[in-house]
Assembly symmetry: C2
Homo-oligomer: 435 residues x 2
Amino acid sequence: MVEPLNIALAGLGTVGSGVVRLIETNAELIARRARRPIRIAAVSARDRTKDRGVDLSRYDWEDDTAALAARADVDVVVEMVGGSDGPALALARNAIAGGKGLVTANKAMIAHHGLELAAAAEAAGVALKFEAAVAGGIPVIKGLSEGAAANAIERVYGILNGTCNYILSTMEDTGRDFADVLADAQRMGYAEADPTFDIEGIDAAHKLSILAAIAFGTRLRFDAVETMGISRVKAADIEQARALGYVIRLIGMAGIDGTNGSARLFQRVRPHLVPIDHPLAHVDGATNAVVAEGNFMGRLLFQGAGAGDGPTASAVVADIIDIAKGEKGPAFAMPAAELEAMEPASSGHRVGSSYIRFTVPDRPGVLADITAAMRDAGVSIESLIQKGDPDQDGEVILAVVTHPGPESAVTEAMRILDGSDSLAGRPLVMQIIGA
Amino acid sequence: MVEPLNIALAGLGTVGSGVVRLIETNAELIARRARRPIRIAAVSARDRTKDRGVDLSRYDWEDDTAALAARADVDVVVEMVGGSDGPALALARNAIAGGKGLVTANKAMIAHHGLELAAAAEAAGVALKFEAAVAGGIPVIKGLSEGAAANAIERVYGILNGTCNYILSTMEDTGRDFADVLADAQRMGYAEADPTFDIEGIDAAHKLSILAAIAFGTRLRFDAVETMGISRVKAADIEQARALGYVIRLIGMAGIDGTNGSARLFQRVRPHLVPIDHPLAHVDGATNAVVAEGNFMGRLLFQGAGAGDGPTASAVVADIIDIAKGEKGPAFAMPAAELEAMEPASSGHRVGSSYIRFTVPDRPGVLADITAAMRDAGVSIESLIQKGDPDQDGEVILAVVTHPGPESAVTEAMRILDGSDSLAGRPLVMQIIGA
């Protein structure tokens, strides 16, 4: 057997401990597939004494990640410290500058600094890999950059945040409202104490920006992802959607609008209505799923566990095995310098159907005001459902589905209605995905 | 830009023409992702004059595939001739022996001769790749051998034949019977004039044997795949299954039974009942889907177009791009000599629930005979549905679902009933997949 690949692990939270457990459990199998053993040379974390359920005594301990990255006996540093900047970024820069390969599950760091790190890795001739940063255990980065490599990707979209999908599908199953289900999810550990990153769509936006760069060969533009979370989705929306043949999912979607000189990068994370005959409509619980549509392969779907120590460790170690086999191609499937700097698209130019939920006072004339605004903005209504009885606040839910048309017309209708006393609250607009 | 990768295409049917079209259409993109251009050096097919919808005049023509494989200016031969033996196999052996890489979509050839070809390719130091041989445009071979590389795969199963899935899901949607839907599918070109390979499960068995070798690191055993097709599935079975909360799909399934010294390779293609909340239950039409369950990643699903010139060409060219990037690892994820020779498992040892459909004469005492046989064989009945009215042949359908138990007990019950005048025809047994 040839020389082992020596790795150093920085950060021993649930994912880091999972990586240790995986490498120990499947050691023989990994050595056969990687054509050489994977050896943990050293580990580092904040607290040496904490019980992590794995025996770390056989590995060298470094208190300092800089010392870890500087070790001469390390080929690859596995960064599982977390956070977009700070110690994680310092370690990543350090490791690459020192000629080590870098594997990370850190979506925030890659979304913010992926281009810089990719360029540095290429310059240093080392691998930078982050399969675990997007959709946990699903090999979607490999699937897009290698499996779908022969295709011009037209669109990539999916369910990228397990917490949101758990909340939405539980609301769907139980009829309970958002705040209630979130509180439960927090109690059970499915949602963080501060759930902002998840429920406001930021985590999904991190992942989407990475997928978009790989799918379209464009420079990362996390800053340009139009993002809305799920906190305004009501149980009543889910009920109306179901009556219309849809479920509600938080979808991250990216595509290229226009062609050649006028091409723009479209990236959006928002709750969408998904037709029940679409594969994403059956993705329940904390599962993730990504759809890519290519000009030859058609529609491809990847689905699996989007988080958790086992699935995430599976993706981290797959990257390590690739490096052990000699793979060190560019991180975003083509050299960083060749990635196209593309301006963000305006979503107003997009054409599609929308769902608009109004909360209105229970009095005559409201429907006339709303439909007049829609008419004046050029929005054509396909269906309108008004629930018979006012809710506990004396308000009525009015759900409108539009015929396909420019999204800008819907925005204009909302502008006309802004401040109208026919509205008891801000309307919620959600796009409808085609089947 | 570095030297192009020079390829030769043998066979210009729909897939071969699709490969030419793809390489021409996406040439620039492919060169960026492969880090070098892919150049078609020469082509070969039976009939030079046939109009294939692509302009072949710019490529050298060889009448003889041996001459094609012998060209000094060719790095990789793409075999799209078809057939498990004969010219395809001769070409494959020739190309590899001559130091060329080989890419093929030929599942029959790989199922029968994959081990020999893999060993030859390793000895010659060239790549052998066949992503397109399994599940068309879905990168499932890459997904299993690289994406899931860190995992011990516990089970791999899926919908591997688009023709059968089209027929079963059309029967489901329309209530029509098998022969009727097959005839329509043949008229529309969704099924071959001689559909045996598809509807009898042989095509799916080819693919399953390849998936199993990669997932479990075992030697190919196509001969040991227990295979039953869909021709005996009736519209009434689909109706009963639906009433019980299932759909019927032709499933190829492989796994390892037992451990270490007593480990056996289980491979079976059969129609199964799939619970409606299982992701495979929503795979309709000609779509393929593969599920792999690993000890760390959990359940992973790949879904997409299983056939057609575009998707198949997408997989063929993905393999070519990998080779252009220098990838020439062993064809079955580990060297052919290391693949384990594992004896086939007996399905009788498996434990699960079964659906049994009896066709019985419409007279008293039948139910007593059947339930007595089940009792004597130790089969525990979970539910039993007898349709009220006899069909046009004066026969009644009786559908039984068993509690989980050894499959051998069901086989024994069928043995007891064999020849009984309480049966108007041979019963159909289908396994039920757990959710």
